[in-house]
Subunit: 392 residues, 2 copies
DNA sequence: TATCTTTGTTAGTAATGTTAACTAACTGTG
DNA sequence: CACAGTTAGTTAACATTACTAACAAAGATA
């Protein structure tokens, strides 16, 4: 029942070998049967047979001849990235941002909608369904080619059980919302919070590419982190890993209430605004608190002091993360992307003074697309190339 | 070359299936061929064939009849834990502590020796070789049945490359010491620092049993942590994960020198001793600083205050670890095992106030045997039951 | 004692990958 | 420009492995 039955005369090996062949193709972009054979230690006849099957299934395609290496020209094979498609959706504030993508993660169509606030959980699902219909029409992808949808949202999610315990922007609470959406759309759905989705996006397409230990640090309304260790997303035993807002940092003030930890209370954007309210009362809609603070710091001594204090405490947080996790790269996101070169340099210097192994410090590079890219890849992660073989 | 060749006509499946059979036997302790067949979805004839081979190889043995369930009595099979043996060694201070164990990790013989100080790297290797000879003789294990040796030591190790960069107790520095020892002993050797070995020990046999996300926090001469996430040891990108002594904690004092971070500087045992030198000058050899401090705190107000400060800052450190990693259990070791029930309760209360998901807080349960047990298991980890099948 | 159950084995079959030998197609050289 | 040498891909015969079906062994139950 549970175990994948090594049916009849062991299709298992065949599947494993097909996976390996597929992996080689994806890895090399274009490759011939003969080269796959060399890479995989599988015999040429075997590779030929497996490749032929996968061409039948639409997973691979022949794309022409390669250059001769002194003999017959090889037939180049390519993964058919259009074989399947994936959808992604992000709820950020009051907007719903959706996209449909091929198996490379390349967007084929995109769609945005403003949602009425406060959100009503049921109409939001209808919005999602309508958006998906439109994306399918626009991209020309047939519905049965869609593998699934990744949904990211601000709030508190339990990815394991597919539930959402707090999310004003969608109005989803409590109930097993993942199953509800799956039933409505007729598709596998993955739900996760927006920081995790952005982390994944930066990991596969942004600043994190090529690294295996990545921490994505987000400062906005709250402070949180996404953690990827040894190439795997780490979520913690109760999906509460990366809740770095609860760190006890710097001289420990009394907390105003029991809601949030010291770090987040004082050094998230609302916390900073609170500290800066003496001179930062005239904030424009949509402008960056950090940018404003940097501007004020050029003339105002009080602002300058606060800015240095903020940087310093952010650096304390980073030092703690680094001490514990020794990541290769720390990706700065949210309002942190507005820190100027000067500020990053300062933080880097402190870290060099405090900890033995300072990682790369880089700003998030995908901007507002990070979450959507991550949402799409969350599905790719659940249906890796190699698992497509199960689809018969 | 690299890939395990699916030689001839795919021995791979056979190996996979053998692994699964072996796993079932280990899991159940005693089990019949028929039950293995039910558990694994493999046919009874297939299981029989695989089991017979493994009996030939000495990995399994028949141990008698089980109870009838209405028909023929089953023949019970057991894993032969004596099929192979493993050695472990720990250098702690000036003593070398060694053991030889069966595949269950059960010690068959143990051996201790005081080493001359300062240690000379070459004679230490000879001590290791002599100790191993003695253990083999004493336990009656033939040398060719020995799978490998795990070596734990105080200091800085690079397990990946098998080198040791700092280790006064062994005198090993720089050179690829792992290969040197392997050549001398004719055995695979695994070298790691003592905290990692103790972490592993507690994980497989001590307080960490049954958990998948474990942080082992050690306070002694230094402060460090061993980290196991999703059942895997996490070492960080440059093997510097768990260097929690570098955390920036509490009100940040100026550091006396560049050698170590704030947390370790003030709240490791030497740091505490420094702070307590007003009233804690008369320490006996071999006594516990924390025990003494607790004793003094009963009468001396200054000691009481320091003790509370120490607990509080340890708790800050734990809060940071918990915020980032959300482990299921935090194992307290080193001098922390001397904290009394009162102290643990206090720390627990603080944590409940500060962070949303407080893990189990437990003292290390294996005492000084933890490191040795871990050393033995580091080899078991590298040669899991299932990988013994490669030994033909 | 006769029948039913459960365990374990034997015999024949199907699936899969391998090697060896072959065809196809191209390069380079005298 | 023909021919040897090389590389790519295919075909055919064979080996390995696990499966199903049938059977033998051994005990329970009535």
């Amino acid at each position: 029942m549970l175990a994948p039955k090594k049916t009849g005369n062991s299709k298992l090996v065949k599947k494993l070998n097909k996976e390996e062949v597929l992996q080689q193709v994806v890895l090399h972009g274009q490759i011939s049967r003969a080269d796959i054979s060399k890479q995989t230690q599988l015999s040429r006849p075997c590779v030929s047979a497996l490749v032929d099957e996968m061409i039948q299934e639409g997973l691979l395609q022949e794309v022409g001849m390669g250059d001769s290496k002194g003999g017959r020209k090889p037939i180049l094979l390519e993964y058919n990235y259009q074989a399947y498609a994936i959808a992604g959706a992000i709820f950020e504030g009051s907007t719903l941002d959706m996209a449909i993508a091929d198996m490379k993660g390349e967007f084929l169509a995109r769609y945005r909608k403003r949602l009425a606030q406060p959100a009503n959980g049921e109409t939001v699902i209808e919005d999602l369904a309508a958006g998906l219909d439109r994306l399918l029409r626009e991209s020309g992808v047939p519905r049965e080619r869609l593998l699934g949808m990744g949904v990211g949202l601000q709030g508190v999610t339990q990815r394991g059980s597919g539930t959402v315990s707090f999310s004003p922007s969608t109005g989803w609470m409590g109930s097993p919302i993942q199953q509800t959406i799956e039933a409505r759309l007729g598709l596998p759905v993955i739900i996760d919070n927006d920081v995790n989705m952005m982390t994944l996006g930066e990991y596969v397409r942004g600043a994190g590419v090529g690294h295996t230990n990545v921490v994505y640090m987000y400062v906005g309304t709250g402070i949180g982190a996404g953690i990827i260790l040894d190439g795997q997303f780490y979520r913690g035993s109760r999906e509460a890993a990366g809740e770095i807002g609860f760190m006890m940092i710097g001289s420990v003030h009394n907390r105003p209430n029991g809601a949030s930890g010291v770090f987040e209370t004082h050094y998230s954007i609302p916390g900073i605004q609170e500290q800066a309210k003496g001179f930062l009362s005239d904030l424009q809609e949509g402008s960056s608190v950090i940018e404003e603070l940097i501007r004020h710091a050029k003339q105002n001594a009080e602002a300058k002091e606060l800015l240095a204090d903020v940087y310093r405490h952010w650096a304390y947080g980073m030092a703690n993360i680094i001490s514990i996790l020794n990541p290769e790269i720390l990706i700065l996101s949210g309002e942190m992307v507005h820190v100027d070169g000067e500020g990053v340099k300062q933080i880097h210097e402190w870290l060099r003074e405090w900890v033995p192994e300072v990682p790369n410090l880089e700003k998030a590079s995908l901007g507002e697309r990070a979450g959507l890219i991550g949402a799409v890849h969350s599905v790719l992660e659940a249906f890796p190339f190699t698992r497509l073989l199960d689809k018969e």
